[in-house]
Amino acid sequence: MVKEIERAGFPVVHMCTIIPISQTVGANRIVPTIAIPHPFGDPTRTPGEEKALRRALVEKGLKALETDIDGQTVFNG
């Protein structure tokens, strides 16, 4: 799915927890997320903290979309 959308010319950022699987399916811009059942959240935290965490992740995703890359890139940090 991610590959076909990118093939159509859109920059796509794949935000997911299991990076090797993302690499296997051929995503190019990859941002690691928190955990499989809650990639953009952490139920052990307060709702406010959780949202801040989510926002930081989405910011990372947008940055990835703004970044030119040569090949598969994992945006850590």
Binding site: G26, H38, V58
Partner: protein, 348 residues
Amino acid sequence: MTYRVVHYINQFFAGIGGEEEAGQRPLLKEGVVGPGQALAAAFGDEAQIVATVICGDGYFAENMDRAAAEVVDLIASCRPDAVVAGPAFNAGRYGTACGAVCQAVKENLGLPTVTAMYPENPGVDLYRSETYIVETTDSARGLRKAVPTMASLALKLLRGETPGLPSEEGTLPQGRRRNLFRDACGAERAADMLVRKLRGEPFETEYPMPVFDRVPPAGALKNLKEATIALVTSGGIVPKGNPDHIEASSASRYGEYDISGVDDLTAAGYGTAHGGYDPTYADGDADRVLPVDVLREMEREGRFAKLHDFFYSTVGNGTPVALAARFGREIAEKLRNAGVDAVILTST
């Protein structure tokens, strides 16, 4: 006896017209039309094209299920022994229609089918396992070469013979493994292969590993502030009640959901259809899988121009690659028409 064959072609090859006539609904003409001439000649006395079914590529693409059913009804009315579709060369919608017709004929009428396409026609990946597809060049210049190959394969199927290897029949492989006895025993073949590999000589593996093709990365977003961002997920986020009945695994469909005016995916309104992980957290707050709430905030703050009004969702778990690829192509088409600039795809 003479076998009865129905030929399926599009509006263009039927001489009705080009893109302006792509909305042509399915229609039946007795006997041979257009490229059917050459096909009939190749059949000789052994088979006869009793009718030609014609459908516009646009109509078929926009009404896949209905169009296929209508075409099958027309074909069935001719009581044929086999169906030949195309050749479609590199025409994507035509190839997809030919494949879909062959699949529907196989499923509903149980008849042998043959079509023909250029290897990169998107219809190949979608339907290669459902029908025999003769390999053609990318344009109609290859008609003369393709037609006799299609005819001889169709005759073989009509006679109940098992087709030979793809290289012998001129077809694109269907992706099924078939047993055969080779000349030498396996150990000898392996030792020979090793010698060749070590010498750097060409050799052919007997079992190609499944391959994952790559797409070069699309260029970066130049101006985020003016961009429309769309959300797509394989995490199965759906409105409560799962209105499209997306399956928990091996999904056969995806959903398109309007989020214009939605600021937050609340537990009351959204949950997950995904059967591949513990759903407690996504059901409690679907923003944990599809971060609509923070994207809405950022949209208001002007970080980017617009969050696209629809999100697209399916379940990635166990869905066949060819199907997922089709979802991707269809979603991409919709996003393009909607003027989307970039995509955030979330997975669990």
